[in-house]
Symmetry: D3
Subunit: 335 residues, 6 copies
């Protein structure tokens, strides 16, 4: 499978270990962003992947490009120009102390790019799938248009469109997100979302009492999304935050008439950021390969669970590792 | 509120991560000490704070000063002179392996200072509260006298005196501590203590069976302390050590006729040292602002719980973070 | 007690923290190997220990030697020569992600040494015990012969022979291991093994249903091993892998007619590698000092539990620390 | 002396050691900016200093504030608000490889601040001197106005105004700089500049043949600047770049009728950034204390030379250290 | 230009900073090897490059692959299999203390590969040049044959063959090298060598008195090599080792009838390893683009000089940076 | 040769790289002290060495012991007890910025030991030489007596006594040192000293004009020392401090009627501390092996020069490396 993803890749700056910002005199410097993460994750799973974005023509922009090339992502469609690389600062939480993320992404090259800079018919040539998330249109009106152009080009070419509804309150309001995403999701084949977020963003009305949804609830969210947007498949996650370092995580997959929930994983967390993207990559692979809902959701959730155990935004797990966990797992040392 | 704290600040040397001393070829170098920690903690909460001590007039002494100034503590009343900065080496335990602390604090500048060097009437001018712990008088006879002088000056000025009974077996015996603290606590308005320690040090006779005290037991310790020393308020902690990295922690607050216990927190620990000082700072703020016992104890305990999640002696939590946890907490990532 | 251990010491290269190999640009460099670990562990417990091996005559070989000398192991019987130091790369797992070990130990100096290079009668002069594991003979036919020579020399001198059945699938098959170990274990006084491994390797036929053995099962394994190989004592471990960072661990000891199981420890892991060697060292000391089975097994298991909490292959715990845990433990900070 | 400085403080991100950006996965994170550096440098020399700027109200902004407070700079006049902290990435050159600086400072809080936010009459109350550099007005028109307001307020109060002509080609053209600085320098008492830059920027017409100026040339630059702008004193630097790690550095000072050149220092460099600010701080102190030109220029140049030997933007040298070097120097170990 | 290089890529392990092996508990882990370095260097210069080798199918092998992919080298022709990644340990010297290199490269996957595994006609399809060094045939007889096969395939296709005579005394004797290289060099178009090494290895008889060669001597070496092996161009280096951290370096280029020597550079060294490969890459580009001897040799030498200033084996310099230095250089900070 | 050395070993705490104390939040932790350094240096040269001292019975004391054992020094005569390990903080200078050393060594276990704790007749049994420096008696009156006892015991046994006059102004005055050393040196066979220091301390009256001594001056110092104290041999160093990182260094040796000066080395420094001890170790070996003055002084000076290139107090150079440099040196990479 060849997949093209489109969005922003940011410089991620993190104090070492559990240090707070106030204590740091060093930052770990990696790169991430939902769509770039999915590109790397799928490359790890053996797919051909290309990431489309815009980065400034300077050394920090080149660092971002190299971070993708290292893991085998095709970077030839990344434009050079604009002013800056978006940055996010992240402080890792622990126990009752929440992780803190400070965004410094305004004015980035991609957020100020012109939609006409992307020749989607050429970019998507030969691709099987196109992926973006709710973050890309949140970067500004130009990016809404760029996403629409991409989706339409994909549609025209018969390329599967996949979208994760990712919502960033720092970029836009829930109502703006709802309005824009409601225009984009009808162009999508696979919709991926946190179940609670989808319920809120699109006012699906599935009763939740502020608690996690049960299987019926998840199925209801999935079916309502499918009905609302006419997509072929819906992949959902649920997360209970026991503490910063302990989460409970599960998912659901609705594909055609097939629906399944995964088992629930109790997770000791290394790095939670990007774990939703690990799920998205797993779900895209599962749906594109025609796995059953039961098999697919366990695969996507296992990908995400392993993603929580890895530093940085990207899920450097192999397909074999994910499949081992999806089948039940074995965490004895591999010698 | 303006508060003055008085005691020793030490250089704290720690092997990286979970390394034992025998494995270390590097030490993390920070500074701490109960009264200095409380000064920083209260500065984080928005109070004016000043730390009084004595440090040698050399580069390591200046590092200690700068460590306080960085967090906004007034350091103008720190004397320069004497021989050395006290040091403590700390090895972080894990699971069944206990943390190990090696003290090298004898002959420090503050422990050999003369009581007459501190002009308390001037130092305390404009302050609302004065704070010291049982460690300062344990540094030697001169410091007992200095503490008494400070308390008497505060009393004279109508400044609230707060004391944490902190006991260091490496510095003196329990009976010596009991005798000296029994002279100092009658000068205090707010007494802060580990409940079990207070029970033992002052032979309060609250039945405990070697176990944690229940609400009645905590109330009994609080009331007996108040009765014994005539203080206005008592703040107590309790801690169950499951393992080096997992504790259960709670507190109680008796203020006037108002008594309350906090809920019990299960804690995954980053750094346990200084967490008692985080409670003390929280309790001082709670009492000085006239919070109810129930509100105040949850605030002070939340401060301590967050203190466990932060590297180093000081609790770099904001008032908003503490209040969020006191109200129930939410450890989802803050974007 | 003076003990001689014989085997390979390897350079151990580990990415920092929880980084995967793909993310690493630095390796922590330590040295380890089952028999070298036991030598260091017993030196920590106050025994005279000597390690016998062969290492190349270059700077990396000298690093290995110095790593032992630092902890008081006698290194004068380590031969110099041959081609290389064996290496193993280890990536620390977390949660559902398993640790990964990549061996690069072929062609090491010890694996290509000639049995005649070791003059066991001289080497073992004055020793009370000799120790090797199932890894040494797995290094190749020469090492099988060397182990036999050593055991026979020890037998002749009345020196106690101790062997841990350690099995490395990367070095040989289970059936080859079974065949060779069946020739070596009859020369041993103390046999140490994972209970399930012994059951499988020697087809002991103790029913297990794939689950951990209960007390009867452990006793059966111990007695069957004793019966099969005629050894005086058998020490067994059992481990349940909840996740990469949480294990349940216990042991059993059969010495003469005395049998006992230890209590079961729930462990939060720092570094699991070498924890079996910590058990072996504890068991050797327990048996050599004539502890009761109950006391001995709690000691050996406590040694192993503490070994899990320490970075690197070797268990840098003191006898006092192990005894404290064996008696029940107390993980409060030691000031 | 109390001095107020005004400008931008940026987050400075640097790969470790001599790594190029392409090799980095960590950045050293410090804070710097010409005017902030001068504030810290003068605080090290015993002056009361205050830094005026605007920073966003988030954790990274607080890091910048704490970096100044740590070294004793008064931070109470730093406004909070706006969008972001300016950033500059710096890669340390070596030998023939030049250092590389990538600026990401557009849209910073200070560059977008409104001149009316600064109440200069209040801010400068009690100050003896005011300092800014050519970088502050280069941040945009608002900052030109803010600088003018500050200078006029200072003039009105009889406060000495000091300005370093610092030119940043990334911010504006030489002709724009010339035009704006020509409006600001007439408000200044002490003008500090690189001699060659001043010659170029203000077309002073001192013949230079592209080489370093001799004493006559330096005197000519100083006198022409004084004549052009009517300032009381001029401090000049000259630098010959042998390689990235070896420079030759000297200065000149014209104060009233007194003129002197310093000796020339051959420097092995640790960190060149901020060394001009070290000279500026030294020159300000020298002029404000009425040192002779000869004494003053040796002091200012010595400050700069020591600044080259210190990591980071700020010159953490004491007055005693600078004076020792100004008198001739002695680099034997100080025990 | 598209170039294919062929050889071994090794894991390079280096103690941090100037630590000796005996002091290290960490190794910086990078990857390098003459031919891999040249591939990366040419990719930095804008060429299409592919590296051909064999690496084991495990995580450490993948690290080597990713290290090349990160910098844009085509890795699709790297075979997977065999036993191990070759390793070299390098300790950085300083002043009078020489750098020390310990090789552990025997039995590597490439050294034990079969010549038939490489289908050169397919591999070289579309290439303009092929590059190898004297290290590849030194890995063993199979690699001599593989190099010959590659050269012959290149010849047949009209692809330019470039070879650096790199000699490794740890792999073979000078006479063996001389014999084998004398068979391979007649297949080459561009021969690159240290001048003194070529003089010795091929007994060229250019008088040298153990000193560096002057222009006539360099010309003689170049012409004798061309005459002996019939190559079109010869590129030579000369190096005077003042101390571990200071070298003098220059080169010469003979291309057709055009001969030129470069100026001599005095170098303060960051990392000397791989600087010869930087020269080789520069020479290949210079010759392939038809630069004059004078321009070409300054370019190649400038590439090498910059290579000395960069940590690790590869020369992460851009074409613009090299050209700037070739034209004279300017090591002022690039803002 | 077996040599016993006697003195203090301290914990050495150093900020990383060129950071000043004010910038440090980490200290490199090594151990050193003149006599301990000489013990390690001589062990590196193949001698049997034992270090005699007293250290507290806690984990930091054990770190000091292990630091010696790692390099093969016999530590069995180190007493345990007393209060603390002496500490020195060292900040590495650069260029015109001098290194700064802050001592915190008062009250250390060795400085407060009782002379009667050392049974010199037993300790020196089997030794060929005994070594101490002027630092040990400077620790206090008890240590003067201990040194005398040791020297007398050595004399009685016919063991060669070697002493370096090392002077520490932080411990005593030059006149006190002169007086005490004048009592101790008559007991010595080999006196080692900085030439200028000896000239000053013992008022030898060799004219120096504040400059380095020429050969005649060095010879005069040597002969006057021999005459004054009746020793058999005198080894002298001279050092010109160009800057913190560049020194010129040479030595002289007078042994019997044989006198020689070494060549002068220009040194680029990694770590200057302990380089005098490297000279002392070289001189002891040279004299004890009966090298000629010319050979011996080049050996001792070469040892010291290499010592400057190595981090930490001890000279981890092999005899072969020192001899290579003594013969002229070759700093090309050793492959």
């Amino acid at each position: 499978m060849k997949i093209v993803t489109f969005g922003e890749i940011m410089l991620r700056l993190r104090p070492e270990g559990f240090l707070r910002f106030a204590q740091a005199d060093k930052f770990e410097a990696t790169f991430g962003g939902a769509e770039a993460n999915v590109a790397v994750n799928l490359a790890q799973l053996g797919c051909d992947t290309a990431f489309v974005s815009k980065l400034p023509a300077h050394a920090i922009g080149e660092m971002a490009v190299a971070s993708l090339r290292k893991y085998g992502v095709d970077v030839t469609e990344i434009l050079r120009g604009g002013e800056r690389v978006g940055i996010y600062f992240i402080e890792k939480g622990m126990d009752a102390r929440a992780s803190v993320c400070v965004y410094d992404r305004a004015h980035s090259s991609i957020s100020t790019a012109d939609p006409s800079e992307f020749d989607w018919d050429a970019i998507l040539d030969g691709a099987d799938a196109f992926f973006f998330t709710g973050i890309t249109p949140a970067l500004g009106g130009n990016m809404v248009e760029a996403c629409k152009n991409a989706c339409k080009s994909a549609k025209k070419k018969g390329i599967s469109v996949c979208c994760d509804t990712n919502f960033r309150a720092a970029l836009w309001s829930l109502s703006d997100a709802s309005k824009t995403m409601s225009e984009l999701l009808p162009l999508c084949d696979l919709v991926i979302s946190n179940a609670g977020l989808a319920n809120d963003m699109f006012a699906l009305g599935v009763p939740s009492n502020g608690e996690l949804l049960d299987e019926d609830g998840l199925r209801a969210v999935g079916e309502k999304l499918r009905e609302r947007f006419g997509c072929k498949a819906v992949a959902l996650t649920q997360r209970e935050t026991i503490s910063s370092n302990r989460h409970r995580f599960s998912g659901a997959l609705l594909v055609g008439g097939d629906f399944a929930c995964s088992r629930v994983h109790d997770i000791d967390i290394v790095d939670r950021v990007g774990s939703g993207d690990a799920f998205a990559a797993g779900a895209i692979l599962a749906v594109s390969e025609g796995m059953s809902a039961a098999e697919g959701v366990e695969f996507a959730v296992a990908a995400s669970v392993l993603g929580h155990s890895i530093e940085g935004d990207v899920n450097l797990s192999s397909r074999a590792e994910i499949e081992k966990l999806a089948r039940g797992g074995d965490s004895r040392i591999v010698r």
